[in-house]
Amino acid sequence: MTATTIDPVSPGPNSGRQARRELTKSSLRVGERIIEVLLAGAAGLSVLVTIGIVLALVIPLFTFFANVNPIEFLTGTTWTASFGDKFSWAKDWGVLPLVTATFMATGIALLVAIPLGLGIAMFLSEYAGPRLRKVVKPVLELLAGIPTVVYGFLAVAAITPFLQPLLGIPNIYNLLVAGIVMGFMIIPTVASLSEDAMSAVPQALRQGSFALGANRRITTLRVVFPAALSGIIAAIVLGLSRAVGETMILAVAGGNLAQLTGDPREEAQTMTAFIAQIASGDAPQGSPVYYSLFAVGALLFAITLIINVISIRLVRKYRQAY
């Protein structure tokens, strides 16, 4: 179709939408308008939720940072918020141990989820027939459907005792096993979105590759994979975001000792585990530890927001590609 063609009844989804909009605009019924406003209100509620989240996190920050130096909060290497007197500000408020533990557990999860997820995605998109795909996909979704508190409990009760002698893990609570289990939890996220990206690669590219004499392995690795790369990265970034925000696995299996450690076999408290620990005990409203919960929550929200924005951008970019 050339650009000069003007077709008022073009079947494109947007032009049809626009035409219907024009048709229904002339409706004089007041009830219709009221319903539309109500529906728009329901959609607008999501904006209120976001504003509410930002307010809920930011307002307590004023009190928190009136007592704690923001530089010390972001760069300090000791975190003793849950020790000693709940009503004392005289503690170490360096959040780095919680942040490094979060990213260590996330890193381990990605080391599990990226190879396994991408392998499964390549298999489903390039090798498996439609019947096998129909069986494998819902089974994989089960991995994401198991409640995360169940994963946490199983890590402590069944998986760590099994791996402990093999990996020389000193304590039943540790980041390593929590991270591995979390990796399996995010496999469906990584695999399913990567498979979508690879399936969206035009068939002509594969046929071209085959025509040049490449076999299926070369075609998968050198043609389909690079062509789908931005979508695959978006899938990994989304998995990353889920791992950073995951709470229950780490609260149950990662340990509650806030410490800066480079060894994942040790226990270390993540940002989410700290929030869960403080909240499930009694944090008296107005106490320093209560405010610190919001400060850590705000940092967590900021980190996941940045990751999500990157992911949404990448998904858009890859959708425009074909």
Binding site: G31, G119, L143, Q203, G245, S280, Q285
Partner: protein, 296 residues
């Protein structure tokens, strides 16, 4: 499309299938096998350790630290039913209404509609514990001051699954072809009549599937509820929206911190019960999708 797949498949194999290809395919199979074995290991561990205590005591008794071997989780089961029921009542109408607006009414060239869409995409990826903080700050404490009651938990879970319901309902509406809308408008129906009499009935299977999956996510969710007071040791059934409560995932979290042997068995049995409920809901969703999904 199917023909394309078949023809490229036929090109493969034969003499060009070298040793490296065999290794590569074996590696891909291994990835699938490792993930499947992990899932099987998880499910078997739960069944083997939980089956013995999956009895009448479990679903009729109350938690007890004195006699854990015969105690049950009835308050958590009732709490889950109450909280999830209210979650559905709050989230479904709001989510479906928002989806209808975005899909059928909103003018996508307007900045505020694009902002709402971007906002929902982002909310879908916000960590669940953040929703707990939101409800803690505004609902549990002032200004609403409801306290740590079942309704607070429902509000947190409803806000959490709202983006999921909106996204899946929009997909279900989008799958209804434009000709249905055109035909309805052409015979004189208004926009609202078109939505109510044509689009919603046609989209019900898709909406139901998405909603069941969203609700089963809420059933397994513990993180936001831990923040808003579901963790206390509750030994009574909730008697209304403003009652104190606990739910099954939070009960599991509480049991998990007990180290006594009898509690381990009780925890596994509770997990088994929860997994059975979730599998049944997932099965129902898959059944609805396969049985009632309309092909246009």
């Amino acid at each position: 499309m199917t023909a394309d797949v078949l023809s490229t498949r036929a090109l493969d194999g034969g003499p060009r299938r070298d040793a490296a290809s065999t290794v590569f395919l074996a590696a891909l199979w291994t990835c699938l096998a490792v993930a499947s074995l992990f899932l099987i290991f998880i499910l078997l561990t739960i069944i083997v350790n939980g089956a013995a205590r999956l009895d009448l005591n479990l679903i009729t008794g109350v938690p007890s630290t004195i006699r854990p071997e015969t105690s049950g989780v009835l308050p958590a089961i009732m709490g889950t039913l109450l909280v999830i029921g209210m979650t559905a009542v709050i989230a479904l109408p709001l989510g479906i209404a928002a989806a209808i607006y975005l899909e059928e009414y909103a003018d996508r060239t307007r900045w505020y509609n694009r902002m709402i869409e971007l906002n929902i995409q982002n909310l879908a990826a916000v960590p669940s514990i953040i929703f707990g903080i939101l409800v803690l700050a505004f609902v549990v404490r002032s200004p609403l001051n409801l306290g740590a009651v079942a309704l607070s938990g429902s509000i947190a879970l409803a806000l959490l699954i709202l983006p999921v319901i909106i996204i899946s309902t929009r997909e279900a509406l989008r799958a209804v072809p434009g000709e249905i809308r055109d035909g309805s408008l052409a015979v004189g129906a208004t926009q609202l009549q078109t939505v109510w009499h044509q689009l919603l009935p046609a989209a019900v299977p898709g909406i139901a599937t998405g909603s069941i999956l969203a609700i089963s996510r809420a059933i397994g969710e513990a993180a936001p509820l831990v923040l808003i007071g579901a963790t206390s040791f509750v030994t009574f059934n909730p008697d209304g929206p403003l009652s104190r409560y606990t739910v099954m995932p939070v009960q599991i979290f509480n049991f998990a911190t007990e180290s006594r042997e009898e509690f381990v068995a009780l925890t596994y049995a509770t997990i088994l019960l929860l997994i059975i409920i979730l599998l049944a809901m997932n099965g129902l969703a898959i059944f609805l999708r396969n049985r009632f999904q309309q092909r246009w």
